[in-house]
């Protein structure tokens, strides 16, 4: 009898896993992707949209065009998973049974969880937010800019640093730098969680006169006073406030009792299997793994999950394991970037920022649609 593989989420991880699975299982299984919108977003592009360097139109594609023809696509919002009966129920009332379930549901952002954020603060973690910030920046005539983090974990850890460096450059180019003060509010005593990257970036920030406010974990915003407060009890005044909103796992994870207190799925760090239900695998942002929530993480995990499910269906011992591999670029402005490559056992050793990494990032941005979902790059 055919096995049924259901994948929730048509992002990087879900799409790649579906394409790899359908290719390897042959007639032994059916592969179905369930996605609430059917549109695939290239989220790393939001940063460029916010800075007016890219058009929002470039960031979305019809998921159908990225999936192998043999993959079934269902446009529904998964509302509840029953891991005992092995069914997924949709908001519309329909349902699907599965033998293997892949959770590639990603994360959601909840700016409303921070008092005062909505309306007063800007963000670039959604396409709408990025476009709104772009327009706000167009109107900006100089003043105090604060960039802060209002919840951990969050997607793409380098993004706030990248945004800070790129925004400072933009203000210089527009002749607004003199009348502006740019400050990064950091959760730690350094600009970036990964120490080696911090050591590399901090002198660049100092050289450009970007201020660093340490141990400032954003708790609330006072739009009347124009200030932001930290858990540590400090306060800072802004004219333009850009915050990373709090992140959480998707509602379906919470509603099904499959996640932890942050809505993240308890996942084995090597097999990517659910800690309680061995027919459920999780990819990307949705896991509780202590590694970066980024597209590259999902990209490296999808083949592992696909391989393990194929082995299980064929009745052989799964061998592929995930070793924590992550790779990202970090734009430092001036058309330069560095790269962070690491895994569970090896912290990153980033090279000096160079034009070649900026070029590599742009090449990746351009080629993404034709390579990653199809599994053409490893």
């Amino acid at each position: 009898m055919n096995s049924k593989i259901v994948i929730l989420g048509g992002g990087v991880g879900g799409t790649l896993a579906a394409n790899l699975l359908v290719d390897r299982v042959g007639h032994a299984a059916t592969v179905t992707v369930v996605d609430p919108t059917g549109m695939h977003a290239y989220q790393p592009g939001f940063l460029y949209v916010a800075l007016g360097q890219a058009n929002g139109r470039w960031l979305g594609r019809d998921e159908r065009n990225l999936l192998d023809k043999r993959v079934d696509l269902v446009i529904e919002t998964a509302e509840r998973i029953d891991p005992e009966k092995r069914t997924v129920t949709f908001a519309s009332g329909g349902s699907l049974d599965y033998d293997y379930l892949v959770l590639a549901t990603g994360s959601r952002t909840l700016p409303e969880r921070v008092p005062g954020f909505v309306g007063a603060g800007q963000e670039f973690y959604s396409l709408t937010g990025a476009m709104r910030l772009r327009e706000e920046l167009r109107r900006f005539k100089g003043g105090r800019v604060l960039i802060g983090i209002a919840g951990i974990p969050y997607k793409c850890p380098p993004a706030p640093v990248e945004f800070t460096l790129m925004l400072e450059e933009q203000l210089r180019d527009r002749g607004l730098r003199q009348q502006s003060e740019v400050t990064l509010l950091s959760p730690l005593n350094r600009c970036f969680t990964i120490e080696s990257a911090s050591t590399l970036v901090q002198p660049i920030m100092e050289k450009r006169g970007i201020k660093l406010s340490t141990f400032f974990n954003v708790e609330s915003v006072d739009p009347i006073k124009g200030t932001v407060s930290s858990i540590e009890g400090d306060e800072a005044a802004y004219d333009l406030l850009v915050l990373v909103p709090p992140h959480r796992g998707q509602a379906v994870i919470d509603a099904s009792g499959l996640g932890d207190e942050g809505g993240w799925v308890p996942t084995d760090r090597n097999t990517l299997q659910h800690k309680r239900y061995d027919r459920i695998f999780t990819i990307g942002d949705a896991t509780d793994l202590p590694i970066s929530k980024s597209g590259s993480t999902a990209h490296f995990q999808a083949p592992i999950v696909a391989s393990r499910i194929v082995s299980l269906i064929k009745g052989i011992e799964p061998k592929a394991t995930y070793e924590g591999r992550v790779m990202c670029f970090l734009e430092t402005g001036g058309r330069r970037a560095t790269t962070l490559r690491f895994d569970y056992a090896h912290p990153p050793v980033p090279p000096r920022p160079a034009m070649v990494w900026h070029a590599a990032k742009w090449m990746f941005n351009r080629l993404y649609w034709h390579t990653v979902p199809q599994g053409r790059v490893g």
Binding site: P187, L188, N189, T193, T214, F215, N217, P290
Partner: protein, 84 residues
């Protein structure tokens, strides 16, 4: 001696387990937990992130909350902090 000091305050000792969490989660969780404490309260934090040793020392210095103890046994780090 240290045990005696700890025993005397153990009744008010608050605890926070951040094992398995990576930087900067241990600091953020501790900052949140400290917020709910009264001045003078003591909290014990157990972590497994090796980076937390430096981070807790710096955080204590920056925020003025005393780091009473910082020990490591078999990859498990224990910090005792007193709220300012």
């Amino acid at each position: 001696m240290k045990e005696a000091v700890m025993a005397s305050i153990v009744e008010e000792l608050h605890q926070l387990d951040v094992k398995g969490l990576q930087c900067p989660m241990p600091i953020v969780k501790t900052a949140k937990a400290m917020k709910a404490l009264a001045s003078g309260d003591v909290i014990e934090v157990i972590a497994t992130d090796p980076g937390s040793v430096k981070d807790f020392a710096a955080w204590s210095k920056a925020t003025g909350n005393d780091l009473l103890e910082s020990t490591a046994v078999d990859g498990v780090f224990r910090f005792v902090l007193r709220k300012r």
